[in-house]
């Protein structure tokens, strides 16, 4: 304990390096497996990969990558907050779609100056997402219902409920029923573009959310209590951290971040909510991104960019004879291999750390 070099040798930086290295290794393994799959189906893997790189590295496609990564970062961060407490929020899907409808509709009922209007809609979206997540939170702490089950069920309820609300109350009838959107938002409610028509400022908002996630979860007192409750629930409870309050707070935070997932579309493209103008499945993609990024802020950004990159190439791949579904296959296999390789290498690393520490303690003489 007196030796500075020993202290540094075991700092957390090492395990981060192991995580990063094993993730990259996992991605390569995934690419090899996918090459095998392509070969079996009679496609040339080298051509497919070079096509992916060629189309993806084009300047405009890189903007497309950032754009597609935006909702994934938000969705993954929402999932990661739950994961830190061992809570599996599968309900991000329902939470963000519900929030998108409510926020788009509420936004048409106020008139505010530009930046305030945007902020207002973002706030409404977060509250609506949290409100939908609060049902699962209440069920969990009052009745002990497992959040995996309640959030999956609530996804189905959300979809039907949203459709009913939309068809009966929020659909814009002004055009004789031809519109399949809510009333279009005023100009003051539009998220400014970073690159005209290509990327809007929601990208920066998403980065900000990830940064806030990092500070709150890894630096704050609340975050420490949340992580402790996830790492050893019994020890946390015994040291006076209220388990139920942690679960409710984590689910509400998760839901509020989920509420932002569709905002790039509501505030930046369609300027309204519409069943066809608001992409679905982003909640589930977020689970994969959070897993791939190990719930770490840097990991989440990296994983979201990787998924965004692959997604951005899928349309053009089809044109050049490479099946675009290979992108989804690669994504899925990457998640699996990276999780497995990560887990295996962390275990090896932990074992080696333990052995090395024991050996060092035996040789070094420590003051007693």
């Amino acid at each position: 304990m007196k030796s500075g070099s020993l202290r540094n040798a075991f700092s957390g930086a090492r395990s981060s390096l192991v995580a990063l290295g094993s993730s990259i290794g996992g991605i390569f393994i995934a690419l090899i497996i996918c090459a095998g799959l392509l070969l079996i189906t009679g496609k040339d893997p080298l051509r497919a990969y070079s096509k992916i790189l060629e189309t993806g590295l084009d300047g405009q496609k890189l903007l497309e990558m950032l754009k597609r990564a935006t909702p994934l970062m938000l969705s993954a961060t929402a999932v990661a907050v739950g994961f830190k407490l061992n809570l599996f929020n599968i309900g991000v899907e329902g939470q963000y779609l519900f929030a998108a409808l409510i926020a788009a509709e509420m936004g048409t009922h106020v008139s505010l100056p530009a930046p305030v209007h945007v902020a207002f809609i973002l706030l409404v979206a977060m509250v609506a997402g949290a409100a939908w997540a609060s049902i699962a939170a209440l069920l969990k702490v009052v009745r002990g219902v497992n959040e995996v089950i309640s959030t999956i069920m609530l996804n189905f309820i959300a979809l039907s409920f949203i459709q009913w609300l939309f068809e009966n109350f929020f659909r814009d009838d002004s055009d004789g029923g031809l519109n399949v959107k809510t009333t279009v938002l005023a100009r003051s409610a539009r998220m400014p573009d970073l690159v005209a028509g290509r990327l809007n400022a929601m990208f920066l908002v998403a980065l900000l959310v990830v940064a806030v996630y990092w500070v709150v979860i890894f630096k704050s007192r609340f975050g420490f209590q949340l992580r402790a409750s996830g790492l050893n629930p019994n020890a946390a409870r015994t040291s006076g951290i209220p388990a139920k309050r942690m679960a409710v707070t984590a689910l509400l935070i998760s839901g509020s971040i989920a509420g932002l997932v569709a905002m790039p579309y509501v505030l930046g493209e369609a300027f309204a909510y519409g069943p066809n103008a608001t992409p679905t499945q982003l909640g589930f993609a977020g689970i994969a991104v959070a897993l791939l990024g190990r719930n770490h802020p840097v990991g989440i950004i990296g994983a979201a960019l990787l998924f965004g990159f692959l997604d951005s190439t899928s349309a053009e791949l089809q044109l050049s004879g490479v099946p675009s579904s290979i992108v989804k296959v690669i994504q899925a296999i990457i998640v699996l291999t990276v999780v497995i390789v990560n887990e295996a290498s962390m275990r090896m690393f932990n074992k080696r750390t333990a052995e090395r520490t024991a050996a060092k303690l035996k040789t070094a003489s420590f003051p007693i």
Binding site: F224, Q225, N350, I368
Partner: protein, 532 residues
């Protein structure tokens, strides 16, 4: 020796035939007492009990025999053949089976499916259930159990589950059975049934080895008893030649420390008051009933008892982790309706029973572990002050001699004793008014134990009130100013340490008057146990 024992009469190995012989077994874990110089001979077709206090090394020894641990020294001989078990598979192959204290059954499978799980008979790759049923029924009949093989395990009671575990072991061909505290989970009439079954097994040539610390049942059912203390075997006796008092003395040892003289008198202020505390549980008997006591400033009150008599639940209730009725006062403040955190803030610190389950985040760094429960002291504007938290951890490491390269290593790299020192240091470093110390020195080496005892004494001399919960009588006698005995969820006796000798403690702790196989009707047994 039982009559009608075919195996025994057929044996030609001289006057005695040993099913199991352990010679000079030693096992070391880093910083932990395990086994040394163990000598054990188990006669074939007999019931052999192994008794000893918690931490005496009974479980480790049985795990060595079952191949879960490999001994550093010594030999294992089974039925005259020396073996080196690398895994439980090797032990099973030479006819040894183990019934663990915590059952390992699949709730959603039937009794039959559970028994054959892993060793399913097949015919051309298809499960031969009929064949399995026949052989399992045969085994069940030979033991004298008539359990319905088609019931799901989830529908069974504890006693029946244990029967399934035993059948499972027998189905795998074991003729030497190890049972780890088989009676700990049973009610008296189930205990009787179990021993009737075991006796029947023995008449058919099987050998039963069981761990227990209930002296009455050991005396009633075993053919021989081996006593373990501090990791080694101290004596092997025949029940007819000893009584429970002798046995208790052997278990505890006659060299109990004399209570150390106090330097500072016990204060007059009540620091922790518990009145009529009863745990609220639905549908079964409350594990803690009407417990009342007070701990004064500068006093150590020891709660002695065999594990599983409500100590754990009592601590949980005082800390507000479990719902209870009754009153809890800390430093004169009524905390009955307060949260755990409020109780801790009022001055309680807790050293938990099990450092891994309730004490540590094993994958987190030491400084984060040291921060747990103290995070409010080391945060500023809602953010954790990392450098202050690390500094505080280094102070614990220095003061309590935690052997570690730094405060940034994960907790799992430390030895058990050093982990425990960190947990104790964390509790004492907040300067509590009341310390609840549950097994503060369990499973750690003598040096670490002495260091922790000294720290608790120093804190006591500074006015801290201590509630010491331990199954280790040596620890209770070394530290306590007053001893309370807990049995079956109630405080059954209060003693001054000068008046406590191993016999008295042993009698109260093991439930004194309950005699097992001598009971005529099970119903009488139940009420007798509760009357204590």
């Amino acid at each position: 020796m039982t009559l009608g024992n075919k195996l025994n009469s057929a044996d030609a190995m001289g006057s005695k035939s040993w099913a199991v012989e352990l010679r000079g077994i030693s096992k070391r874990f880093p910083g932990v007492i395990a086994n040394h110089d163990v000598e054990l001979s188990v006669e074939r077709a007999s019931i052999h009990a192994i008794v000893g206090e918690n931490g005496a090394g009974k479980s480790t020894l049985m795990k060595i025999l079952y191949g879960l641990h490999q001994p550093d020294e010594g030999t294992i001989t089974v039925n005259g053949v020396e073996h080196r078990f690398r895994s439980p598979g090797d032990a099973i192959a030479s006819g040894i089976g183990m019934v663990h204290q915590h059952f390992m059954l699949a709730d959603n499978l039937t009794v039959l499916e559970n028994i054959i799980l892993g060793f399913e008979p097949t015919r051309r790759g298809v499960l031969a259930l009929g064949e399995a049923r026949r052989s399992v029924s045969k085994i069940a009949a030979s033991v004298g159990t008539n359990i319905d093989l088609d019931l799901k395990v989830s529908e069974l009671g504890v006693g029946q589950r244990q029967r399934v575990e035993i059948l499972k072991v027998l189905y795998r061909g074991a003729n030497i059975l190890i049972l780890d505290e088989p009676t700990a989970v049973l009610v008296p009439q189930e205990v009787d049934e179990l021993f009737i079954n075991l006796r029947q097994l023995v008449t058919q040539g099987a050998t039963v080895l069981f761990i227990s610390h209930k002296l009455d049942e050991v005396l009633a059912v075993s053919d021989r008893i081996t006593v373990m203390r501090h990791g080694t075997t101290v004596a092997t006796v025949v029940p007819s030649e000893v009584d429970r008092l002798t046995l208790a003395e052997l278990m505890v040892g006659s060299d109990l420390p004399a209570p150390t003289a106090r330097v500072i008198a016990i204060g007059k202020n009540e620091r922790l008051v518990v009145r009529d505390l009863t745990l609220i549980v639905e549908g079964k008997k409350s594990p803690v009933q009407n417990v009342s006591f007070a701990v004064y400033e500068g006093e150590i009150v020891g709660i002695a008892g065999v594990e599983g008599n409500g100590q754990f639940e009592l601590c949980a209730a005082i800390l507000g982790l479990e719902k209870s009725t009754g009153v809890v006062e800390v430093c004169g403040r009524d905390m009955t309706h307060s949260s755990t955190r409020e109780r801790l803030d009022a001055g309680i610190a807790y050293i938990p029973f099990d450092r891994h389950r309730e004490g540590l985040m094993l994958n987190s760094s030491l400084w984060e572990n040291a921060l747990l429960g103290r995070e409010e002291r080391f945060s500023h504007a809602l953010l954790i002050n990392r450098s202050a938290a690390k500094q505080a951890c280094r102070e614990i490491i220095e003061r309590f001699d935690v052997m570690t390269p730094s405060e940034t290593v994960p907790a799992f790299v430390l030895s058990g004793g050093n982990q425990q020192k960190l947990v104790v240091g964390r509790s004492l470093s907040v300067g509590p008014s009341v310390l609840i110390a549950a097994h503060p020195t369990r499973g750690i080496d003598v040096g670490a134990q002495a260091a922790i005892w000294d720290e608790i004494r120093i804190a006591r001399d500074n006015g801290m009130a201590v509630l010491l919960v331990s199954a280790d009588l040596e620890e209770i006698l070394a530290l306590s100013d007053r001893i309370l005995i807990i049995f079956d969820g109630r405080i059954s006796a209060e003693l001054a340490p000068e008046d406590a000798d191993p016999q008295i403690l042993g009698t109260f702790m093991t439930g004194g008057r309950v005699s097992l196989l001598t009971m005529v009707k099970p119903a009488v047994g139940v009420s007798a146990a509760q009357d204590l």
